[in-house]
Amino acid sequence: MPEQNSIPKVPLRKRIRYSLGGRLALYFLSLTFILAAAGLCFGYYLYSRSVQYNYAGISTRTAETVTLAVDMDEVEEYLKGAEQIYFAFTERQLQVDRKKLQRSFRRLKDEQFREIQRDLYDFAEASDVSAIIIGLYDEETDRIIDVLNSDYKGEYLFSGNWDYLHDVEERRDYRTGDDAPYILLEDERYGYVCAGWAELPSEGRLKHLILCEIDINNVVQEARRFLREYIFLMVMIMALLNIGFVYRMNKYIADPINDISEAARSYINDKNAGILDQPHFQDLKVRSGDEVENLATTLADMEKEIGEYIRDIMTITRDRQRIASELDIAARIQEGMLPTVFPPFPDRHEFEIYAMMETAKEVGGDFYDFFFTDDDHLALVIADVSGKSIPGALFMMMTKILIRNIAPLIGNDPAAILARLNESVMENNKAEMFVTVWLGILEVPTGKLTAANAGHEYPCVRKNGGPFTLFQDPHGLVVGAMEDISYKNYELDLEPGDSLFLYTDGVPEAEDPDSRQFTTDRMLETLNADPEADPEHLLQNIRSEVLAFSQNADQFDDITMLTLRYFGTMTRKNEITTDALLEKIPEVTAFIDGILEEHMCPMKVQMQIDIAVDEIFSNIARYAYGSNVGTATVTVDIEPDPKTVVITFSDSGKPFDPLSNKDPDTTLSAEKRGVGGLGVFLVKKTMDHVAYEYRGGRNILTIRKSMKK
């Protein structure tokens, strides 16, 4: 099942509001508009200029042709006359009354004048121009003065009428390419007019001009119509283009991109919901033949890749989980292999034993073992495999099983067992791993420990109530390194109360967060802080110290420990028979003391027992045999649970029950006190139980005292 929790969720971001297509359409529209407008302006400008030049040319040539139509000499005469009249006026007079000049020009208007005007009119008609004016131009004042004109009827052009060139509305001055001056102006009455002029030779200040006006209203109208039609056409074309463009934009860019982003969105949604096999990008149909199609293709490939990658990861995760659960089972199998029930031999009181193993990973490479090879011999094993985790665990299991199988074949000879173990391991050591082993065989009745060490840590021994110390035993080579290796046995005599502590290097080499090691010194310190602790607590103390020291930094090595405390056999009867003499008391006391000390009898109890022995044996010595010398037998038993000392005194003398006498009166004053009978009284008072019987011809007195204070 896909683990939805293992695939991180991707949050979707806000969608952009503006559309790409719309924006592109806007740009395109603006662009076409600008283009059209620019085209229009430029075209219009060119068009009107060329028209102007054309008409300017026409009007100017027509003006020049006027000289052929009329008698220029006569014209000259009139112009001169006009000049004189003009000069007679001051500026001020002219400006105050414009019509003044007109009135004064009437003088010029004789028959010939009128004829010339008629000729001008005919000429204008023939040439298809609106008007011809022959006049004066005052450059100083920029004044044009009408003298002769083609309007002989006097309807709209008046001789003597003057105007400023710059005074007329919207008048523009243009110079043609061939230097023919013309005026373009909009007349209130007559509309648009183009007036070309030809200059006549003149003397004096004023220029003599022939102006020829052409009505260009229709031209202007044409231009306007052109503009209107052009604009209309442009708008139509632009509309079509834009629609076409927007359509193409959407089809080939905006829509594919939207499709891609939609595909991405639903990809993310599906992934967040745990649906992993649905194709999204791969379903896209983008065939624009360009970068967008590339993008779609690449995303489809990416989708496939990611899909495979996720599948791989899920497979790996499944495998890992499977391995983890198998390791779990393996760990439990391993656990089951080591003896973990304590006490393991409840009916054996000669020793107490405890062991523990904590693995760094689920399965480890250390182990301990203990087993009886026969009724009297206990084998103890502690070992450390060179590898960890699965390889270490497998090697550990093999080694442990081998030792158990080899031991009964070889017998109680640790060195030989290790040598044989090494042979077996070397037969099949393809992985070239090795294991350190310490193997000891304890002869339980005597406390004699025979051991051999194959490269393992020095054992710790505590003897005679002293501190734990490292016992630097001779080391043989680790098991599994080379063939044909032999080992040497050594012996240790354990006496009751002595302890043995075995461990693997995980204890002294445990590290704190600063990588300092626990060390064997600290280990010994901890042991010796409470050396009398029972085996389980002894190991718990070490464990707590190591945990505290490492401050819960990751344990990197297995921690394995085994400890044994030897008490010696308790069920053996200890017995001494001596002459029943007072001077034998020290010997008997020493004998009993020895046994009591072996069994860790508290000092106070021991002394109380000593006193009892003194009293009882004294009595036997003094009274049992009268004046003869006989023997007395003392036996000492220690019952285990609770620890109780049981001592019997027996003799074959006169039958006498020492308990039958009355207790002395302890309240008497000093003068009246005697010491007779105090002995037995003391015994009764300090011992838990005193019993007498006469059996088999012997007086038997039994005292019982518990070792608890």
Binding site: I585, M607, I611, D614, T667, V675, L678, F681, L682, T686
Partner: protein, 104 residues
């Protein structure tokens, strides 16, 4: 058992170490009683006495009876075992038993 006798004028201190039992009591008896003449203050220092049996009690009683005529007797620094014996036998009622810390 060892006995160390120290005399200071009419005061006598007997430092006893070890056990006062059937076999050692006679020696204790002789050693102490011999020196008793002229002693008005007898101090039996039991600091190092392990235990005492009825034979030892007998010596105590003899010393006590002797000192009744001459002066006083004090038993010093008895341990638990001796204490119990003296209690059980009623001797702690008769004797003067004291605890004194030793000068370093």
């Amino acid at each position: 058992m060892k006995i160390d006798i120290k005399k200071d004028g009419s005061r006598m201190t007997a430092e006893i170490s070890g056990r006062i039992d059937t076999n050692t009591a006679p020696e204790a008896e002789n050693t102490i009683l011999e020196e008793l003449s002229g002693v008005s203050d007898l101090i039996l220092d039991f600091t190092n006495v392990d235990y005492i049996s009825s034979a030892g009690l007998r010596v105590l009683l003899l010393c006590y009876k002797a000192m009744l005529k001459q002066g006083t007797m004090i038993v010093l620094n008895v341990n638990d075992v001796v204490r119990e014996i003296l209690d059980v036998t009623g001797f702690s009622d008769i004797l003067t038993i004291e605890e004194r810390k030793m000068n370093a």
